[in-house]
Symmetry: C2
Subunit: 148 residues, 2 copies
Amino acid sequence: MACTSSFNIIKARFTAFLEENGHRKTPERYAILEEIYSTNEHLDIDSIFVKMENNNYRVSRATLYNTMELLIESRLVRMHQFGDKVTHYEKSFFDGKHDHIILTDTGEILEFSDPRIQEIKETIEDVFNMKIDDHSLYFYATRKKKLK
Amino acid sequence: MACTSSFNIIKARFTAFLEENGHRKTPERYAILEEIYSTNEHLDIDSIFVKMENNNYRVSRATLYNTMELLIESRLVRMHQFGDKVTHYEKSFFDGKHDHIILTDTGEILEFSDPRIQEIKETIEDVFNMKIDDHSLYFYATRKKKLK
DNA sequence: GTTTGTGCAAATGCTTTGCAATTTG
DNA sequence: CAAATTGCAAAGCATTTGCACAAAC
């Protein structure tokens, strides 16, 4: 990994989560966590499977799915449905909270962050008297053509 | 239908869309459109299938999926992935644009509308030089307990 | 009459599940 | 050593596809 020391913080968080919830600390779980944190991409299960295989780490798809559940519960990973049928996963620390723009013609995915979302969230919490744990915002867009 | 005259506007829009794009005006397509506009719920393919069957209208699931594509393209219907695996559809006229709050403990879905989303959208369009055609925003929340 | 759409049934592909073997605590 | 986890293969299930028949234009 590029930045080993900061990954240790993540590992420690995961360990804490596993212990608090009575889950076992298996090597597979840490290997999967590490794989997801080694990239900024939005990976699907199959990409993770292949990447790990290329690193000579065999893990079953079943374990991948199971571990994803834990990673999401522990908030170390976020889950996305960009429109194709597969589920994508991305690390959710060191990246700040961000949302996504999906370019509908090319399939490209851009990221952005806007503080007004937080404001909307607070308004909703007040008006509806609820606690918002998470949100997802996607914009579907196309690039404007440059004028000649 | 409760409000026949306003549904005629929708039907006319759909007709225009079909004609402009060289698609045929089949009774199945109008029947499906009508079914979706007869409720405020977020329906999945199977619910639509069953509801139509109860109305003694037989239509195949294949046709439902095909027609959904047209309805979404014509912007008469919007599509949602609330987190369970099925796709949900809802009419997109007479309801105004709105977004959704998903209560993660009960599965309930609430609707809201906030003008700041429009503002964020305009900022993004400027900053990234793109045209945003659509968005989807979901908040994942739980109700606050009442204090005794 | 051509071409497009429909319905059926089979195929697809992501995800889940059951279970024996293994590993963790 | 008891209980949780893994891996494998089979099962599930929403959606898609291929093709013969029917309907629109």
